[in-house]
């Protein structure tokens, strides 16, 4: 695979190589950013920040093969930071009008109704883990990295979350 070679080039400061790496999975990145940020504009902003951050920190990547999980972790971190900032801005500017409508990335999911309803029954950590696993196809290790918890915790969150949904769902559909 060319990934390792490109990563090595990128590590030496080759910007084109880095861009090529990102563009190879651009949709994955975009969807991941979109799922956190909720709108295409912020998603692209997050990706811009990610690529600059990746470029500055390429040297810290020890295993070239781990580029994608590492870069996605950075993307999610960027998204979370941006959300936090937005939250602060909201808190100050729209103190009176919108404190209760503080941005929740999972609320702005436009594409689906019932799945959102299903996920609404679990807590936000379980929801995040489930989404990362099932919607973004990330492995447990990457999810653990993104959410900053152990792999065991990720597994348990997914399992507990799915169980909760199943209980709820079963209750409604009498499956």
């Amino acid at each position: 695979m060319k990934v390792v070679q490109l990563v090595r080039k990128a590590k030496k400061g080759n910007k084109r190589a880095l861009l090529q790496l990102i563009m190879a999975q651009q949709d994955d990145y975009y969807r991941l950013a979109l799922s956190y940020m909720g709108n295409p504009h912020d998603a692209m902003d997050a990706m811009e920040e990610m690529i600059v951050s990746l470029y500055a920190n390429m040297g810290q990547l020890k295993k070239e093969e781990a580029f994608y999980s590492w870069s996605k972790t950075i993307l999610v971190n960027r998204c979370k930071q941006m959300l936090k900032k937005q939250q602060k801005v909201v808190l100050i500017d729209e103190w009176e009008t919108a404190p209760s409508e503080v941005h929740n990335p999972y609320q702005q999911w436009e594409q689906q109704m019932d799945i959102q309803g299903m996920l609404a029954t679990v807590n936000e950590y379980q929801k995040e883990a489930i989404e990362l696993k099932y919607f973004h196809d990330l492995d447990y290790e990457t999810i653990a990295g993104i959410t900053n918890v152990s792999i065991g915790t990720v597994k348990s969150r997914i399992f507990q979350g799915l169980k909760k949904i199943r209980d709820q769902y079963r209750g409604e559909t009498h499956e």
Binding site: R31, I130, R166
Partner: protein
């Protein structure tokens, strides 16, 4: 796959229809392009090689590096080969003592190198405005009173700084502090005297490599030379003795052909000095430092000043280009002329030849040499050095012949004194 997972998969399929907008690549590239260019991470192997070499060097030159801080810097131009080597080994002592002189220039004693034969001092005179040099007196200290010998110095390009090297007599190993006197001429013609003291560590003086009593007499034509001692230090090798030779002062460098041979090869003579007092005439010969490996060491007196009877009469008419032979030595008569002062005869000979008992004969009778005027050294086409001088005789009658009774010159001796045997 249960119902929920199925739902999730469906959801994922829906999601997969979302693709990144076309402008994403452009935006990412813009962001990336604006990012400051990262320093290229250099491959690590040259570092490893450098580290390895460094370890080798440190290991090999550990002793040298221990002295690294003592290296006197900035005097490469002035130092001769041996001294540069010693300095590179850190055999000097850095001093760095400064004194501001009244005219604004600053005298720095950068460092010294000492051993049993001499003290070499390195100084810098900076902020010089008037191109005036500086002269140094003695170095004094406990049991120390060292006169200055030779010295060399250079101006920098802007002629604002002098760097110099001075040789002094050795200082006492008991001295802890040395005091240097210096005098500088100021612009107004006044002299500024400055006295500066700097610490001295006798333990850092270089060890004497060889010190031996010789007490060997060598008979030469007109007397004897007594070689008394040899002292070899890392900077210089000095041989001292006395000389009792009648016509010692008849040639310029009577000790020129005294060689110090190491392993059969002569090493360079740096200088020779002769001093006469009531006790007799003492001499001191200095040679380059001995090499590391000395298998044999010999002192060879190849030639020394001597005297040869000649009793020759040279016809002066006509003047010939060819040289006359005086006991194997060439003598050219270049010009005979009458002047206000008397008759002048210009002759040339080997540089070591000094004629004795010179008279001219002719119609005016025999006239002895009054004096020698104008002496020049010329190089012949074959590289031979000749001494040309004009002899003056008090007569106004042009002579027919020139008579020479004898001559002082370098005579073959070929005596060998073995210092270290094979």
């Amino acid at each position: 796959m249960n119902e929920i997972e199925k739902r999730l998969m469906e959801e994922k399929k829906k999601m997969e229809q979302i693709t990144a907008p076309d402008e994403l690549e452009g935006r990412l590239w813009q962001a990336l392009d604006a990012a400051p260019i990262k320093k290229k991470l250099k491959p690590k192997w040259p570092l490893a090689v450098a580290a390895f070499l460094l370890v080798c060097l440190i290991g090999y030159n550990y002793n040298g590096l221990a002295y690294y801080g003592k290296k006197i810097i900035g005097f490469d131009e002035l130092m001769s080969g041996t001294l540069t080597e010693l300095n590179d080994k850190g055999m000097g002592q850095t001093v760095g003592e400064k004194v501001l002189l009244e005219d604004g220039s600053e005298l720095t004693v950068d460092g010294i190198m000492t051993d049993a034969n001499q003290l070499i001092l390195y100084y810098t005179l900076s902020n010089v405005k008037d191109m005036e040099g500086i002269t140094f007196g003695k170095i004094t200290g406990f049991l120390t009173d060292s006169d200055q010998g030779a010295g060399t110095w250079t101006f920098n390009e802007k002629q604002s700084e002098i760097k110099g090297q001075l040789f002094f007599d050795p200082v006492s190993p008991f001295a802890k502090k040395l005091t240097l006197e210096a005098t500088k001429l100021a612009e107004d013609g006044q002299s500024i005297t400055c006295i500066m003291s700097f610490p001295y560590d006798p333990n850092q003086a270089m060890q004497t490599e060889l010190q031996q009593k010789l007490m060997k007499k060598v008979k030469v034509d007109k007397g004897t030379i007594t070689f008394k001692t040899i002292t070899a230090t890392p900077t210089v090798t000095i041989i001292k003795g006395t000389v009792d030779v009648q016509n010692l002062d008849r040639v310029q460098l009577p000790f020129k052909q005294v060689q110090l041979q190491v392993n059969g090869k002569p090493i360079e003579q740096i200088g020779s000095g002769i001093s006469t007092s009531i006790g007799g005439t003492k001499f001191e010969l200095s040679f380059e430092a001995l090499p590391q490996k000395v298998d044999s060491l010999e002192l060879v007196v190849k030639e020394f000043v001597g005297y040869t009877n000649v009793d020759e009469t040279i016809p002066l008419h006509p003047i010939r280009d060819q040289a006359f032979q005086l006991e194997g030595k060439d003598l050219w008569v270049k010009k005979v002329e009458k002047t206000e002062d008397g008759v002048q005869i210009t002759i040339a000979s080997d540089e070591d030849v000094l004629l004795d008992g010179v008279t001219i004969e002719g119609k005016g009778g025999a006239v002895p040499l009054k004096t020698t005027i104008r002496q020049d050294y010329n190089e012949l086409d074959d590289g031979r050095m000749v001494k040309e001088r004009t002899l003056l005789f008090s007569t106004d009658v042009l002579p027919d012949t020139l008579s020479v009774k004898g001559m002082h010159h370098m005579k073959r001796v070929d005596e060998v004194i073995e210092i270290l045997g094979k």
